[in-house]
Symmetry: C2
Subunit: 319 residues, 2 copies
């Protein structure tokens, strides 16, 4: 649920005057996304999304994100496109926040994932990885493997409030993950957050990808591992290997993984689980009561991580 910053009508009017996108028809907060404030903006010309970047996003990264989205579109990926103001700038300031208008993408994200979604998601992820290959600028993944130990330290003292001995379990798991973390896998630009609410479908076809604000340069296979975490577990946290197989087959039909990438899947999946576990844990112990955001349960990723620790090899995922 995300509208952290309210925009006054005068400020909005002044902001829109800088664009050549028609005059305003409607402006409504969108109850989706958790990092930024998103508004649906309708003008006499078209529908748009107005995003105000909140404190977790480093403004220095914004040109990279917007540049990546523009690059991907030129390579055939359907994703929101930054709309440039009359002065040629896509990145501006509104209500004291960095802000951008992007194009509106038709589609609906799947509230309940079915096997039929997973193949297209895998294929779209592979397509994204190939399309990004010739986007030269790199962005360090602040929430990649090097960031996890410092992140755990920031919540460690209070982890046991959520479940007894959780701090110790996370210590052990993280030590194992970092000790087994692969080297030398193919790198590229990854979405890093391709959860169901960032993938739109229309008439049973994948219609677009959104929310590139965690994108970074990292192992491509790690992005696959994030998707396995995001798309292939059931509500009881059991792993649905049919979904895993569909996702991996969809991916490999477009970009076959190397033997080293496939072999690394269990540890990459454990990494993917602990990454979301750690940010949720941090939010859980640091979100003030009454904040306009729903805290998500970190334990959902403890459950996933336990599955990954039981995975003997990549075949556990349906390969």
């Amino acid at each position: 649920m995300a509208v952290y910053t309210e925009v006054t009508d005068e400020a909005l009017e002044a902001f829109l005057a800088g664009y050549d996108i028609g005059s305003m028809v409607a402006f409504r907060g969108i109850a989706e996304g958790v990092e930024n404030s998103n508004y649906s903006l309708k003008t006499t010309a078209a529908d748009f999304i107005l995003t105000l970047y909140e404190k977790r996003v480093d403004p220095a990264d914004l040109p990279w994100f917007l540049g990546l989205m523009e690059h991907l579109a030129t390579r055939g990926i359907t994703c929101p496109q930054p709309v440039r103001a009359r002065d040629g700038e896509a990145l501006r300031v509104l209500a004291g926040k960095h802000a951008a208008i992007t194009t509106f993408l038709p589609g609906v994200w799947p509230r309940r994932v079915r096997v039929e979604h997973c193949g297209p998601v895998g294929a779209a992820l592979a397509g994204l990885h190939l399309a990004g290959a010739d986007f030269a600028p790199r962005r360090v993944n602040a929430l990649g493997s090097h960031g996890w130990r410092p992140l755990l330290e920031r919540s460690h003292a209070r982890a046991d409030e959520i479940q007894p001995d959780l701090a110790a379990e996370l210590d052990t798991a993280l030590t194992e993950i970092l000790a087994g973390w692969p080297t030398g896998l193919p790198e590229g630009h990854i979405h890093a957050d391709l959860f169901p609410d960032n993938v739109f479908f229309l008439d049973n076809r994948l219609s677009g990808l959104i929310d590139f604000y965690f994108a970074a340069t990292d192992f491509l296979a790690y992005d696959v591992a994030v998707c396995l975490n995001a798309w292939c577990f059931e509500a009881d946290f059991s792993f649905n290997v049919t979904k895993g197989r569909a996702l991996l087959s969809g991916y490999q039909a477009i970009r076959p993984m190397s033997a080293a990438e496939r072999a690394a899947l269990p540890v990459l999946c454990r990494g993917g689980a602990i990454r979301f576990l750690l940010t949720r844990l941090f939010d859980w112990v640091n979100t003030p009561d009454g904040a306009m955001v729903t805290r998500k349960d970190p334990m959902e990723y403890v459950r996933r991580m336990r599955f990954h620790r039981s995975a003997r090899d990549e075949h556990a995922y349906g390969i």
Copy 2:
């Protein structure tokens, strides 16, 4: 912020198949409103709002609300119109909740109220009161004066957690309000919740009214008092008499108030303040941590009520 009920894509598709409104293009949760779940629904034909009615709304009242909205539109009031499904029904069931699709209203609600908004709001409220006059069915105002004592009882024991001696202050204020509550004032159908986020403007003109789910049959002048509370206080809870005068002049240009109505304004305003104070207080002491809703501070209405208690007569409001 309001999306309490998630709708699966299959359920939504099956639901829309019952309507003749084109096929789906987009479906996004709206971060506005606090009582129901609202989605923005775009089809190949038009934009709509899909509302799922949550537990505070009595399903038995829904036909009255939808009927009032239809009636008001025939009398020239711009408000959302229920869209009937192929079977002629506007009220249906989705995801286990009562649900309705209504038309999309262009406009933007004023995040910062200016004096220029207040006249049109007063005029629109008076227009609503006149337009509702020949809508025969009545609806008892559960949150009207008879409901306040029971509502206070439900939070009384915990009121002092918010501020020392708040329970005693509310007891005294409510006793005074009920003792001075007028009788015999003109009645009709009132909106009862005409706050800025329920009034849209476009190009500096009022473009429509939304959210009729607190509407009821009660004193018309009480609705004016609610608006004085909602539109005419500044951020520091000082009363802006210029805004009050604009709102009352706008109202009386369309429907002049009787001497009895005008004289009752101070007590009606105290009633309007305590009504929102009491529901906020109830929510404050009863909202579980982590709920997807922002608790609003009851003290904002204690501050308003104190102003109203200081008002000697209707002239305090700019009449």
